[in-house]
């Protein structure tokens, strides 16, 4: 297994496989960049601060028992802040060293735009899923 073209990524949101409605996906493992530079070194020094892991997905919107039905109930507000599992794999197949999986069991949905676009555009929803825990990579 070597280089590959993204065309069969697996994306599951709250236990629902939405892969065939995903136009793009990004797994972002990110920490705050805390500057701990001091006098005399001449260069910036960095430490990882708080983590800010998230998934970013562009869905082809589907109001027929698919994307919108899956995401609308998950939108958080002051009274209800559901967290849910989200799984992304490179390929829709068994997890292996050549098919790693990234998972968060504490994903939250803060912003959702179910309808957005210009006349004539394909209806899409660009969604960011912040994680309240570090995204975990597994290979088995």
């Amino acid at each position: 297994m070597g280089k590959h073209i993204i065309k069969d990524a697996y994306v599951s949101v709250n236990g629902e496989n939405l892969s065939n409605r995903v136009a793009s996906v990004a797994v972002i493992q990110d920490a705050d960049d805390v500057d701990v530079s001091t006098m005399g070194t001449g260069v910036h020094e960095h430490l990882a601060g708080l983590r800010n892991d998230r998934f970013e997905v562009t869905f082809i919107q589907d109001f027929s028992d698919s994307v919108d039905d899956a995401l609308s109930p998950l939108v958080a507000d002051a009274d209800s802040q559901p967290t849910f599992a989200m799984i992304v794999k490179a390929f829709d197949a068994t997890v292996t060293t050549t098919n790693p999986q990234w998972e968060s069991t504490e994903t939250i949905l803060l912003t959702y735009q179910p309808l957005s676009g210009n006349v004539g555009d394909r209806s899409e929803a660009q969604v960011t899923f912040p994680s309240n825990s570090g995204i975990v990579r597994t290979t088995s």
Partner: protein
């Protein structure tokens, strides 16, 4: 699954009433020597595979072509003008985009595609004919179709 044979039949069905009004035949495939007036479903201009992962969908651009009459015929030009309009009883765009589904106002050709839109026309086109025959006036319309794979 996107089935081009069914799409051709569906587009033809949406155009049949317009064809009857113009007095022309509507055919689902290209003719070797079409006699105007004729509307034919020419076929795909472009296919974008994998607009969604896991073979979740494709986008097809299908061409509809009409041969209206000989170029010097004013009546043919009048007819073509009306066919090129975005709406009206002879509008190709309006005929093709006839909503046949109560499911959100999409144009599904009887449930065989997710949605479609006539995005543009090539405008006045002159189709050369064999020596001794008058050139034919017509146009092409490009239909963007979204469907499952």
């Amino acid at each position: 699954m996107f089935d081009l044979e069914q799409v051709r039949a569906g587009l033809k069905a949406n155009l049949d009433a317009l064809g009857a009004a113009v007095g022309c035949q509507v055919v689902p495939y290209m003719l070797g020597n079409p006699t105007p007036p004729t509307i034919e479903i020419m076929g795909p201009d472009e296919i974008l595979y994998d607009i969604a992962g896991s073979r979740g969908g494709d986008q097809n651009i299908v061409i509809i072509r009409a041969f209206v009459g000989i170029t010097v015929d004013q009546a043919a030009q009048i007819t073509l003008d009306k066919m090129l309009q975005s709406s009206g009883s002879l509008s190709v765009k309006e005929a093709v985009e006839k909503i046949d589904s109560n499911d959100g106002g999409r144009v599904t050709l009887g449930g065989i595609v997710d949605d479609l839109r006539v995005t543009r026309s090539a405008g006045y086109q002159v189709y050369p004919q064999p020596a001794g025959q008058d050139d034919v006036l017509g146009s092409s319309w490009f239909v963007e179709i979204l469907s499952d794979s």
